[in-house]
């Protein structure tokens, strides 16, 4: 775990808003030299604070109009290992996110589909056939926004 100062946090805020900004441009906007900004970015990458990049696409315009979150309860814990479920779920191309959770479900999956009919196909052929799958709850995503979090 690394400690960030105000300048690091300011750089992080810029990169969260637009990761394509160059170290030079970020440096100029914050009154740092290009090498100084670059070194700070590099340090946050190496410490794993900047974990990567997220591409924001208009998925509906690309023909993927439906996003559904599934809460999945495993039916046969112990008999089928968690790894089997995780491996199979991760391999489904329509499944964008797989998270292991504690609570009323064991896993949370984010599934994308062309429309509700396509989602039904994915649910029946791919999700319901996953090893160990039990109860499944589906909620259709209407809107989503990401917040900067405690970077202020």
């Amino acid at each position: 775990m690394i400690a960030l100062d105000d300048t690091d946090r300011a750089i992080l805020r810029v990169l969260v808003a637009d990761a394509t900004q160059s170290a030079g441009a970020i440096g100029r906007s914050l009154g740092l030299s290009q090498p100084a900004a670059w070194r700070r970015i590099r340090r946050m990458e190496e410490a794993g604070v900047i974990a990567g990049r997220r591409i924001d696409l208009d998925t509906a315009a690309l023909g993927f109009g439906v996003t559904v979150f599934l809460g999945v309860k495993l039916a046969t814990k112990g008999r089928v290992s968690l790894e089997d479920f995780e491996r199979a779920a991760t391999a489904i191309p329509e499944v964008q996110t797989v998270q292991h959770v504690l609570g009323m479900y064991d896993y949370r999956l984010r599934v994308t589909a062309r429309d509700l009919a396509d989602f039904e196909r994915v649910l029946r052929r791919r999700i319901m056939t996953l090893p160990g799958v039990g109860n499944v709850e589906a909620n259709v995503l209407l809107s989503e926004e990401r917040r900067p979090g405690p970077l202020g």
Binding site: M1, I2, L4, L12, L15, V16, A17, D18, A19, T20, A47, G48, V49, I50, A51, G52, R53, R54, I55, D56, L57, D58, T59, A61, L62, F64, F69, G71, E86, A89, P93, E94, V95, Q96, T97, V98, Q99, H100, V101, L102, G103, M104, Y105, R108, T112, E137, A138, N139, V140, L141, L142, S143, E144, E145, R146, R147, G149, P150, L151, G152
Partner: protein, 152 residues
Amino acid sequence: MLIDDTDRRILRHLLSEPGLATADLAERAGVTAATCWRRLERLVEGGILRGQHAVVDWRALGWAVEVSLRFTLDKTNPRAFDEFLDAARNVPEVIEIQTFLGRVDVRLNVIARDMGHYQEVYRDRILTLPHIADIESLMLVSTIKDSGSLPL
């Protein structure tokens, strides 16, 4: 905006390796760097490629707890959604807000430094949000896949 197979190929490679420089992305997608750059520009102008954002790993910054809170709202009040969402946006520990069609109305992704801190955030800033009818929580154990990939 119409997109063709070349656009799809570029997007597929961009989604699988979001940090790639344009020259490397072009090589992976089998087009020249100039073509790749032009296509990306066109996808931005057409509103398909909405942005690229750095992903912050909050655990690396010492925020060890992440909880998915699922809310059912009191819908007898017509302003319930708007007022709840406005208030949730003011909680710095909320890093994601999603609305749903289904048994769950709204989901908030909340982070905290440890369980003690989480209890404080939950009591002082979450339970005080307006129009809550019911809350369920799922505590994140681990993220196995988070790709944002699309079966393009």
